[in-house]
């Protein structure tokens, strides 16, 4: 929790540096000379955009504090759903928050975590934990909609009971520095983990999706698909680590990251890692970085589709594969609309 510690002590030396291997592409110490003062409490925030505004029960956190105490009950049977909005509304200030979601045995939850920048130049940090009991199912969609001159870091830790299911899709639009970490301790035992992500980066935005999945028990399944596009001078970072500990035999873990570079000055940094200490496992990772297919662009243009639209169509299709994997129909459609909105920024 070095960012949290740096904010609490207002000490920039506690920030992670690019000399730390895990932060080599997202170093903060080099960027922040003075840690901003603590954000003030606010009473109200502006409304949410489309995806956070599905009309679901909503918890609002502003500048690191819950706006009001709301009890969100998750039904023991059937499906619960709610939205958490993490709003940064204090320009030039810093805040850290911690929150926990506990999901009872056999309960099912669809959760939207929406990070929103409603001011500029903030430093936001969040530590979010999940505790899923046996047989619990969570589908989590994360929207990272920070201000372009903000620094925003979030770390999620996930603990899973036997037979649990944790599916996550992170949609990121970047910031001056944006980092979203997910750490999963995977007990095996019929547990199914899916960690997906997509990013659309323009201007000088930066986005880092980092995942660590540690398999500690037998027969666990993990699948990961992250896809992104970087235009202009943007930078996308993907770090995915899968650790299979001794005894975690029968693990099936697959990780893929594919990115499109839409400009010569954009950058993609990817580090997929498999650390395997067990026998009899099926693990694989794939990573590609490329440009849009010129032949496909010409084909679309030869049918009358102008170049800008042809590129947008192919880019949407490229990222669409991630969105298609979202199970909840309502959320999938809203996520698709969110991505389209970001892709308009490319034209």
């Amino acid at each position: 929790m070095t960012v949290a510690a740096a904010i609490a002590a207002r000490d920039p030396d506690l920030l992670p540096s690019r000399r730390d291997e895990d932060w080599r592409w997202t170093g903060l110490r080099e960027l922040i000379r003075v840690v901003p003062p603590a954000s003030a409490a606010v009473r109200d925030v502006a409304g949410a955009d489309a995806l956070a505004d599905l009309g679901w029960p909503t918890l609002v956190f502003a500048n690191g504090r819950a706006l009001e105490e709301v009890e969100v009950a998750i039904p023991a049977t059937g499906k619960g759903r709610f939205v958490r909005r993490f709003v940064s509304a204090g320009a030039g200030t810093a805040h850290h928050l911690e929150a926990t979601v506990t999901v009872g045995e056999g309960a099912r939850l669809v959760l939207i975590d929406s990070f929103e920048g409603q001011a500029g130049d903030y430093l936001a940090s969040a530590a979010l934990s999940f505790d899923l009991a046996a047989g619990a199912e969570v589908e989590r969609i994360v929207l990272l909609d920070d201000a372009e001159d903000a620094v925003s870091v979030a770390r999620s830790t996930v603990a899973l009971g036997a037979g649990a299911r944790f599916h996550q899709t992170v949609l990121a639009a970047g910031a001056k520095r944006q980092r979203f970490e997910t750490h999963v301790r995977h007990p095996g035992e019929g547990v199914n983990v899916r960690l997906d992500g997509a990013y659309v980066l323009t201007g000088k935005r930066h986005s880092d999706q980092t995942t660590v999945v540690t398999h500690v028990g037998r027969d666990g399944v993990t699948t990961q698909l992250t896809k992104g596009v970087a235009a202009d001078q943007a930078r996308g970072v993907f770090q995915g680590r899968i650790v299979v500990e001794r005894g975690a035999d029968g693990t099936d873990a697959r990780m893929a990251h594919h990115a499109l570079l839409l400009s010569d000055r954009a950058e993609i940094d990817a580090k997929p890692e498999l650390e395997i200490y067990a026998d009899d496992v099926a693990c694989a990772h794939g990573n590609t970085v490329g440009a849009l297919d010129e032949a496909a662009i010409f084909y679309a243009r030869a049918r009358g589709i102008p170049e800008v639209h042809a590129k947008a169509m192919l880019t949407t299709a490229f990222l669409g594969e991630v969105v298609e994997r979202i199970l909840n129909d309502e959320v999938r459609e809203a996520a698709h609309a969110w991505l389209l909105g970001k892709l308009e920024g490319l034209a």
Binding site: G304, I305, H309
Partner: protein, 252 residues
């Protein structure tokens, strides 16, 4: 309609089309036949506006308008349609979405109203029926996992939907079995009309049994070396391209 005059095209530094002249009046179907390497595909890509095909001399106009000055999508909006020899696969874009996007983009460019979703679906069902295509195929990613013959049908389906004024068929018969060839040809023939022109580019005479040309031109070494009626195609089928290939070299 289409007038090509003294066209010279290079790819990189290599000249491929070398002084080609050809006119296709409205209402006519012209075939361009030639051996491999004669410049057939270069001609079709140049007319469609593909990058990398550099026109070093000459002109190509459609109804007097300079085609070569237009972008590929502008040419399409003017009514030029190239049926690709090797249609592309576009994962994640359903054929229905692709065709509707293209149709409405062309309408927009011409200042015409958009086609409504129900009207579009009605027309696409009709066209797919003519080509014996399953609507399920149109809901999947464009051409993804399709056989060569299915891809060619998809080209013709797009052609029927977009209703172009000038059609260029680049080796449309390649990869087709005899039943598919007949179905595809029926689709093309349905578009024959007094205000449309067609250029049918092919290596073999076979396709011309189904799409009967008004004129046949022989392309060798980047230029038209002979022109005649439909009988010329039959002669080529019997005697091959040898004498023209030689003639082309001598002329060069």
């Amino acid at each position: 309609m289409l007038d090509i005059s003294n066209l010279h095209v290079s790819i990189g530094d290599k000249p491929i089309i070398d002084g080609l002249s050809l006119s296709v009046p409205a209402g006519e179907v012209h075939a361009v036949m030639g051996p491999n390497g004669a410049g057939k595909s270069t001609l079709s890509y140049t007319l469609a506006g593909r990058a990398g095909y550099e026109v070093t001399d000459g002109s190509a106009t459609l109804d007097g308008e300079d085609l070569l000055a237009l972008s590929p999508d502008e040419r399409a909006a003017r009514g030029v349609f190239l049926s690709f020899q090797y249609p592309l696969e576009i994962p994640g874009v359903p054929a229905l979405t692709f065709i509707r996007t293209a149709l409405n983009a062309q309408h927009k460019a011409r200042g015409e109203p958009e086609v409504s979703a129900p009207e579009f679906l009605k027309r696409v069902r009709e066209a797919a029926g003519k080509l014996r295509m399953d609507m399920d195929m149109l809901k999947r990613g464009l051409n993804v996992g399709f056989s060569g013959g299915e891809k060619k049908r998809m080209e013709i389906l797009q052609m029927l939907m977009l209703e172009p004024r000038f059609l260029i068929l680049d080796e449309t018969d390649s990869g087709l079995d005899i039943d598919a060839l007949r179905i595809v040809s029926e689709g093309v023939n349905a578009l024959r009309s007094p205000d449309r022109g067609m250029l049918v580019i092919t290596h073999y005479q076979r396709l011309l049994d189904y799409i009967r040309p008004d004129r046949v031109h022989v392309l060798a070494a980047g230029r038209i070396v002979a022109s005649g009626g439909p009988e010329l195609a039959l002669e080529l089928e019997r005697e091959g391209y040898d004498k023209y290939a030689q003639g082309g070299r001598e002329a060069a």
